[in-house]
């Protein structure tokens, strides 16, 4: 054939094929792509926790279920959970502050807020661990009844996700520490914040679920056709 169409991609002729790299544009695209990936990851996380919640509701309708929040139940006193929740809320607020400050190029605010965010998230995990230890001390070990099994399972899984978020935070911290360009720091903090806010939301749902009354479970179960 006179003209070979697939040759078009071979047409690399001019040396201008290697134009000078555009680091800002490149990074921007990469963060854009990562943002898409983070959102898809959140869909996966949603699927995971949704399935746990549905399973929780389904299991709660069996006769051996013992409510966590009864007067003698393990979560009869929820103050420790409230304290931990406060840590997580503060973590989310701090990372949001860091994200907004990075947009305004306020380097020291970014650094302070990022550090606080990490400390708060770590405090949340430590707080949860202390709670687990105390519950176990009182004899509420994982196999005592299905509700407490779910409590350990769900809070544990959530804590693992927070720990994953801390790894992302460490990368952001590294960028802040190395005094990298603000748009770069901002992009990293943005990804971090999306994930952290979402995990706060997941936690609030779990908190509400774990401390609800059996009647609430029954109502949800009836709505879902699980009863």
């Amino acid at each position: 054939m006179a003209h070979s169409p697939q040759m078009r991609t071979l047409d690399l002729g001019e040396p201008g094929g290697w134009s000078s790299p555009d680091p800002a544009g490149g990074l921007l695209w990469r963060f854009q792509a990562t943002k898409v990936a983070v959102r898809i990851l959140l869909a996966v996380v949603t699927s995971l926790f949704m399935l746990f919640v549905v399973t929780f509701i389904g299991r709660s309708q069996f006769s051996d279920w013992q409510s966590l929040t009864g007067p003698l139940g393990p979560l009869g006193n929820t103050s420790a959970l409230w304290v931990n929740t406060a840590f997580l809320v503060l973590a989310s607020i701090s990372i949001q502050v860091a994200r907004m400050a990075s947009r305004k190029h306020l380097r020291s605010t970014v650094a302070a807020a990022t550090v606080i965010a990490g400390m708060m998230a770590a405090a949340f995990i430590v707080g949860q661990a202390i709670l687990w230890g105390r519950l176990a001390e009182f004899g509420f070990t994982v196999s005592v009844n299905p509700a407490i099994s779910f409590f350990y399972l769900l809070t544990g899984l959530h804590a693992i996700h927070i720990a994953g978020g801390l790894i992302a935070w460490m990368r952001s911290m590294e960028r802040v520490w190395q005094r990298q360009a603000m748009p770069v720091v901002n992009a990293g903090l943005e990804l971090c914040a999306i994930y952290w806010h979402y995990l706060l939301f997941v936690w609030l749902v779990l908190f509400a679920l774990l401390t609800s009354k059996p009647e609430t479970y029954a109502a949800i179960a009836a709505l879902c056709g699980l009863r």
């Binding site: 054939m1 006179a2 003209h3 169409p5 697939q6 078009r8 991609t9 071979l10 047409d11 690399l12 094929g17 290697w18 134009s19 000078s20 790299p21 555009d22 544009g25 490149g26 921007l28 695209w29 854009q32 792509a33 990562t34 898409v36 990936a37 898809i40 990851l41 869909a43 996966v44 699927s47 995971l48 399935l51 746990f52 399973t55 389904g58 299991r59 069996f62 006769s63 051996d64 279920w65 994982v142 196999s143 299905p146 099994s149 399972l153 899984l157 056709g225």
Partner: protein
Amino acid sequence: MAYAELAETEELHEPKSFITKYIWSQDHKVIAIQYSLTAIFVGLIALVLSGLMRMQIGFPGSLEFMDASTYYQAMTMHGMIMVIYLLTALFLGGFGNYLIPLMVGARDMVFPYVNMLSYWFYLVSVIVLIASFFAPGGPTGAGWTLYPPQAITQGTPGADWGIVLMLVSLAIFIVAATMGGLNYVTTVLQARTHGMTLFRMPLAVWGIFVATILALLAFPALFVSAVMMLFDRLLGTSFFIPAIISLGQPLDHQGGSPILFQHLFWFFGHPEVYIVALPAFGLVSDLISTHARKNIFGYRMMVWAIIAIGVLSFIVWAHHMYVSGMNPYFGFFFATTTLIIAVPTALKVYNWVLTLWRGSIHLTVPMLFALAFILTFLVGGLTGLFLGNVIIDVPLSDTYFVVAHFHMVMGVAPILVVFGSIYHWYPKITGRMLNERLGQVHFWITFLGTYAVYFPMHYLGFLGMPRRYYAYENFEFIPQSAHDLNAFITVAALIVGVSQILFLFNLFWSLKHGRKSGGNPWHANSLEWQTPETPPKHGNWGYKLPVVHRWAYDYSVPGIEQDYLPQTVSEEELIRLRESEGGQKSTDQEMTGNADSEGGE
């Protein structure tokens, strides 16, 4: 900055050492080959296991070591390996990795490092799985669905360690699949080259893309059930285990719900059918169009059908549980959704047939496998309509009819596509053709052989022969003829199994001795055939990314002698092509040609 412009300005760092090039590789093509070879390796183990099982059923007692426990272990591992570690890994990790970046015109996956991790996690999951063969008590024999309570109670083979290793392996596999899946979806969404709109993507990419979304959303259900069962097994919780007396002793568990596990498992398990089927649908569409030299019939309909099947696949799961006990209205609901999913699926079959209609069918080896796929999928799909109805399913449940159905529809049919696709894309991967004659022999033995294996099983099912039994002697309702048929099936299965050596031999022999293929031996349109080098180098495209001007199915466009127009041909080039081929073509033909070339946009 759009992906393509960026990719053309970034410098490529081609790995130089053997280790970074072939072992810790971040190149999607190498990772694809790693995935594929590992999957084929475990697939061979599963194939041998099926041969051992068939020996027991066809010629009971012929294998000395085959007792009931060994049989159940072989059955469980065969099922799990074939569905998860072979088919899922091969379609998504193998074909997905190789084809997505090449077909959408990207340099690589968006996150090459994560992609590499995905393979290594997969390999670890395979190693953990294989380790269970050597664990005390051997691998689990709980059946591939791993239903509790028997999966983790004493008396079931592998209840000590086999099941633990299986569940851990599945959890690792899911992490691997999620890392890979994030890459595939993000690459399709973010890294398409100039002009590659979503509706210009080949159907292979569409199939893999939607299947990956299914995998990302459905695998968590398997993860949830695996983690909870691990808790039940290792920590003594009672998520799934009811109060139970096992071997005369009451267990510590109480109140758990085995049905809960079944719901979780099938909420994953049914989408899993389409995680395997949708890539097969996509790949086979490309094979049929290319080898029939005709545009795919109803491209947009095909895409929407893939999406519709994907969505519907999440609301049919309980049709696997008609005999598990559920509200009759649920049965009605799930039977209805199951029958509805047959509509988009049937559309696809019609469109494949209509693509073939008056096409210039080249009976190449990939085409033979594609045609065989349509037939096999049709048979498997039709028996699916039987089983989707509650009243027909109840008597047929747990018989060989079910075994025949799911092997036809999600065993043989996808494997035929795997073979067809390997014969089709091998030249791009290696630069050499697979031996045609060997391929034909391999095809006919595999195609006719699998029919000889699975077609008679439908009759055995009607006779009421139950599945998952270790021995069938001394049942009055199973006549001698059924035993003879079983012996026949075993012989056929062994022939099919052994004949795969032909394929393996071809795979390795052609690597050195196959005919040189050139860049585009099938005269195909999609981008992977337009790479500057074959096999494509690191970065795939040289300095400039390809520019896409049309869909991937411009075959036999009227008014042009050359019967294919690669996606990279622009309208100006098309006009030049027409002129250079001589202006003798009549004007009306040219007008038709112009209209057609717009078809895919």
